[in-house]
Amino acid sequence: MAAPVESSGWFPALAIAVSLLKCLFINAYHSTDFEVHRNWLAITHSLPVSRWYYENTSEWTLDYPPLFAWFEYGLSQAAVHFDRGMLVVENLNYASPATILFQRLSVVFADLVFIYAVKECCTTVREEKSAKDLLRRPCFVLAVLLLWNFGLFIVDHIHFQYNGFLFGFLLLSVARHLQARHLEGALWFSIVLNLKHINLYVAPAYGIYLLRCFCFTQDNADGSLRWRSFSPVRLVSLGAVVLSVTAASFGPFVAMGQLPQVLSRLFPFKRGLCHAYWAPNFWALYNVLDKALSMLGVRLGLLDVAGLPKASMTGGLVQEFQHAVLPSVSPPAALLCTLLAMLPALWCVWRRPSGGRGFLRCLVQCALASFMFSWHVHEKAVLLAVLPLSILAVESRRDAGIFLMLATTGHYSLFPLLFTPAEFPIKVLLMLLFTIYSFSALRNLFSGEGSLLHPLEALYLLGLVGVEVLCEVVFPLSPWQSTLPFVPLLVTSVYCALGVSYSFVRLYVSLLTQEVTEKTKRL
C-alpha cells in the first residue's frame, strides 16, 4: 500500500480498503462451514433454547459454547430480512444468493470488532523515534499485519468462519492487558472463551498472569514475588467478572440440567489425533516418523506386513491413524504433552512477569504449545499464535525473525483449505501480498540491525515455493495423482510442521535466554 505523505486517516483507509476487498469475494467458493453456520442460524432462530444442543437434523450440530449460539441468534434476527428460507432447520445445504450475501456480510460486519481491537493494539505499540515516513512506523506496520492478515482473510472470507470477530475480543483483551487495564482484559477474555472454547489453549497464560500480576500487587526489589502483597479483593473481583460471564453463558443450560450434553458437544473426543488434513504440528512429524520406521522395518524384515495396521498405508485420508511402530497416542497423553510444553513459559511468567509483553509472549507460547501437541488440532489454530505474535514482531528484531518464519509456514499450511482451481490465484496472490509486505516492512523497521533471517531459514522458506510447485503443478500431472492422491497434503503438512516446530523452539530459546541475560545483567 502506497501510503500518502501525511499521516492522518490512514487507519480508516486501511480498514475500509480491506473490508471492501472482503466484499469482493462474496461469490467465491465457501466450505461446508458455511452450511454449519447457516444451520446454527436456523437452530437458534426456530428452536427453544432447551433444544439447541439436542437438535441433530443436520450433521453439523451446534458445537460452540452458548455465547456463540446467542451471537447466531442475534444474527438470525437480521437474517429474517434477507431470506427466511435459511432459518428453516430442515433446509439442509440451503444457499440462495440472499443467504450467501447475508452470511458473507455478517462476517465482514462482525469484523468491526476486530478492526477496533487492532486500533487499540496499535495505540499500545512503543515507538522509540517517531519516523517521518508513515511506512516505517511500527503502528502502521502492525495495523497492516493484523488487518490484512492472510490467514484470517482466507479462513473467514473465503473458507467461511467468524474468526475475525473472535480474535477481535482476544486482541482487545491483550490490548487491555498491555494498557494495564486487567479487569477489562479479563472480561473480554472470558467473553471470547465463552464464544469459542479453542481459546482454552491460551487460558493458562491468562490464569497465571492475572494471578501473579493482578492479585499480587507488589514485587520484591529483585522482581520476585512478594507473597504478603496478595489482595483478596482483587481476586474476588476477578472471579466475579469471569464467573458472571460464564454464568450468563452456561447458566441457563446448567439450570436445565443440560451441562453434560453441552460439554459432550463441545469436546468430541471421538475424533482422531489428527484432522483429516494433518495440521503441521508435532503429531504430523510423529506420524511420518512412524510410517518411515514401519517401512524401514518391512524392508529390513523386522516387521511383518500382515501384522501392520491397514490404515497406516493410506494415512492422511482416514481420521483414525494407527501407529505401527511408535506407541499410539491417547487424548490424556496429548493433554499431558501440551501441559508439559506450556509449563516453562508459565513458570517464566510466574517468576518474572516483565509486564504486559511478558504475558503476551507467554500467550503466544501457550497457543503454539497447544497447536503443537493437542488432540485433533485444526490447521487454522495456528492463527492463535500468529496474530498475537505480530504485536511483538514490530517491537523487537528477534521476534520479527520468528514471526516471519511462523507466519509464512503457518499461512502456507492453510493453502489446502482452498483447493478449487478458481480460488488458486487468490490464495497465491494474497499470500504473496502479505508475505512480501511483512518481509519488507519488518526489514525496514529493523534496518541497520542485521538481517532478520539466517540464510538457512531463508532457504527453508524459499523451499515453500518448491513445495507449492511440486504439489499443485507437477504432482497433478504425474501418474501418482490417482494412486497416491494424499501425497501433496502429506508433504505440505510435514514440510510446514518443520517450520512451525522450529519457530516453537526458537521462541522458547528466545524466552529462556532473555531470562538468563536479564539475570546476568542483575548480577
Binding site: P4, L24, R136, S440
Partner: protein
C-alpha cells in the same frame, strides 16, 4: 520502503481485485437465445478455429453473421484464434462448430476469465507500470499511488472481468503507443498504436492526437530535413503494420471491403440504448432520429465531431509536447464519445484511459471524471448482475484515490490549471463576481457524489413510475452527459490556455 516492493504489491492488489470481480456474473449468462458479449467472444473462437480465414467475415451456412458475427478488425480475430487453440487443448467441446453455441460451464468461465487476465498481464499492466515509473513526476510514493489508482480504475475492471470484453488489450496497446511517444521512440509507439487500431476500430478516437503529435513533431524538426526522415520512418512503420495485419484479406479486394463493412456498420443508427452522449441526451428534448434522415444524422454527427476536435488538434499540431498530447487524447476521445455516430456506453473507457494518465497531474478532476464514467455504465452493469462489484470497486477507488493522491488538498486554482481565469478576471467588469473556481469544483464533486449514490440506490431499489419505464437509465445518462460535457470543456480550456512551450510543472 523500496519502490520495487511497493510496485509489486500494487500489481498484486490490482490482479487480486480483477480476479475477485471475475467471480461474478457475465453479460448474457444463462440468457438464450442470444446470450451476450461473453458468448460473442466464445463464438468468435469457434468461428476462427473452424472456418477458413476467407469466410470469417462473410455470411455462409456455417457462419451466421446475425449471430454475433465478427465485427472487429483482424487482430481481434487472430486473438480469438489463439484462444481457440488453447481452448481446444483443454476441452474441444468449447469450440465445436455450431454445436458449441451458448456453451456455459464453470470450467469454461474460468478459462475465459483467465484469457482476459493473461492479456492484461502481458499488455495492459506492464504498460501502466512503465508509464507510472517513467512518465509521472513526484516522489516514489506518489508514483506508486498513481499506479495503484490506475490499476484499480473500476470501469475497465468491471467491463473486462464482469461484463466480459478484452478492452485491456486495445487500451494496453494504446498505452504502449503513448509510452513510445513519451519516451521518444516514435516509430515503436506508432507500431503499438497501429496494433491497437487493428484490434479495435474504436481506437480511432485516439488516432488524431497521435497523428497531430507526430506530424507536429516532425514539422518542428523541419519537413525538409530530419523531420521528413522521421515522418517517412513512422509512415512506413504504420503501413507495414497494417499490411501485415490485413495480409490474409488483401488478396481479394472484396475481402477487404467486406471486413471494412463489418467494422463500420453505418446502418446501425445514430445511437443505441441509453448512452451518455449529446445525441441521446438531446433525444430527451427533441426526437432527432424522427426529424432527420439517416444520412443527414451521419453527416451532422460527423460535422459536429470534427468541429469539437479541431481546436485541440490544431493546438497540438502547433505545440507538440507530451503534456499537450495527453490532454489532446482526452479531448479527442471525449469529443468522439459525445458527438460521433453509433457510440456505445462502454466507449467511455476510451476517454477514461487518457484521464487515468492525468491522475497525478490533475487528481481531483480526473477522479471526478473516472467516478462518473463508471457510474454512466450503471444500467449495463445492473443488467449483468454486477451491482456488488460495482459498489465495492467504486467505493474503494474513491477512498484510495482521494487518499493516496491527496486530491482534495491539491486543488488550488493553480493546481487545477485555471490561472487563465485569474487573468481573464482582471479584464472583467467590476460588477461581475469573482468566482473561487477551486471551491466550486470541490463542492460540485461532493454534490455529484451524493447524487450518484442516490441515483444508484434508486435504480436498484425503486420501481420506475408506470409511465416512464426508462426513467432511471435516462437520468443516469443525462447526468453523466452533463458531467462529460463539463469535463470536455474543462480539458479544452486547460489545453488551449497552456502557454506556448510551457511544460508540466507544479
Amino acid at each position: 520502503m523500496e519502490a520495487c516492493t511497493l510496485v509489486s504489491m500494487s500489481i498484486l492488489l490490482g490482479v487480486l481485485v480483477r480476479w475477485g470481480v471475475s467471480f461474478n456474473s457475465y453479460s448474457g449468462a444463462g440468457k438464450p437465445p442470444m446470450f451476450g458479449d461473453y458468448e460473442a467472444q466464445r463464438h468468435w473462437q469457434e468461428v476462427t478455429y473452424n472456418l477458413p480465414i476467407q469466410e470469417w467475415y462473410f455470411n455462409t451456412t456455417d457462419n451466421d453473421l446475425n449471430y454475433w458475427g465478427l465485427d472487429y478488425p483482424p487482430l481481434t480475430a487472430f486473438h480469438s484464434l489463439l484462444c481457440a487453440h488453447v481452448a481446444k487443448l483443454i476441452n474441444p467441446e468449447w469450440v465445436k462448430l455450431l454445436r458449441s453455441r451458448g456453451y456455459e460451464s464453470p470450467a469454461h468461465k474460468l478459462f475465459m476469465r483467465a484469457t482476459v487476465l493473461a492479456a492484461d498481464l502481458l499488455v495492459y499492466i506492464p504498460a501502466v507500470v512503465l508509464y507510472c515509473c517513467n512518465l509521472t513526476n513526484g516522489s516514489t510514493n506518489k508514483k506508486v499511488g498513481t499506479l495503484l489508482c490506475i490499476l484499480l480504475y473500476p470501469g475497465l475492471i468491471l467491463i473486462d472481468y464482469g461484463h466480459f470484453q478484452y478492452n485491456g488489450l486495445s487500451l494496453g496497446l494504446t498505452l504502449w503507443g503513448v509510452l513510445g511517444l513519451g519516451l521518444g521512440w516514435d516509430a515503436l509507439g506508432s507500431l503499438a498504436f497501429s496494433l491497437a487500431l487493428n484490434y479495435k476500430q474504436m481506437e480511432l478516437y485516439h488516432a488524431l492526437p497521435f497523428f497531430c503529435y507526430l506530424l507536429g513533431k516532425c514539422a518542428r524538426q523541419g519537413l525538409t530535413g530530419r523531420g521528413l526522415f522521421s515522418l517517412v520512418k513512422i509512415a512506413v512503420t504504420v503501413l507495414v503494420t497494417f499490411a501485415l495485419c490485413w495480409l490474409p484479406f488483401l488478396s481479394d479486394p472484396e475481402q477487404a471491403l467486406q471486413v471494412l463493412r463489418r467494422i463500420f456498420p453505418v446502418a446501425r443508427g445514430l445511437f443505441e440504448d441509453k448512452v451518455a452522449n449529446a445525441w441521446c441526451s438531446l433525444n430527451v428534448l427533441i426526437k432527432i432520429r424522427s426529424i432527420l434522415s439517416s444520412d443527414s444524422q451521419f453527416y451532422l454527427s460527423f460535422a459536429v465531431t470534427l468541429l469539437a476536435i479541431t481546436p485541440s488538434s490544431l493546438k497540438l499540431l502547433k505545440t507538440p509536447t507530451f503534456w499537450q498530447f495527453k490532454l489532446a487524447l482526452v479531448n479527442s476521445s471525449l469529443a468522439f464519445f459525445l458527438f460521433s455516430y453509433q457510440v456505445h456506453e462502454k466507449s467511455i473507457l476510451l476517454a477514461a484511459l487518457p484521464v487515468c494518465l492525468l491522475l497525478n497531474d490533475l487528481p481531483l478532476v480526473a477522479i471526478y471524471f473516472l467516478q462518473v464514467s463508471t457510474f454512466s455504465m450503471l444500467p449495463l452493469l445492473l443488467k449483468d448482475g454486477l451491482l456488488m462489484p460495482y459498489a465495492v470497486t467504486s467505493l474503494a477507488f474513491l477512498v484510495l484515490s482521494t487518499h493516496l493522491l491527496s486530491a482534495l488538498e491539491r486543488c488550488t486554482e493553480a493546481q487545477l490549471r485555471l490561472e487563465g481565469y485569474r487573468r481573464l478576471a482582471a479584464w472583467l467588469p467590476a460588477w461581475l463576481p469573482r468566482l473561487d473556481l477551486a471551491r466550486i469544483i470541490r463542492r460540485k464533486f461532493y454534490t455529484s457524489l451524493v447524487l450518484m449514490v442516490g441515483l444508484s440506490v434508486a435504480s436498484v431499489a425503486l420501481p420506475p413510475p408506470a409511465g416512464l419505464p426508462d426513467l432511471f437509465p435516462v437520468l443516469v445518462s443525462t447526468f453523466s452527459f452533463l458531467h462529460f460535457l463539463g469535463t470536455f470543456i474543462y480539458f479544452n480550456i486547460v489545453q488551449l490556455s497552456t502557454p506556448q512551450g510551457k511544460q508540466k510543472t507544479l
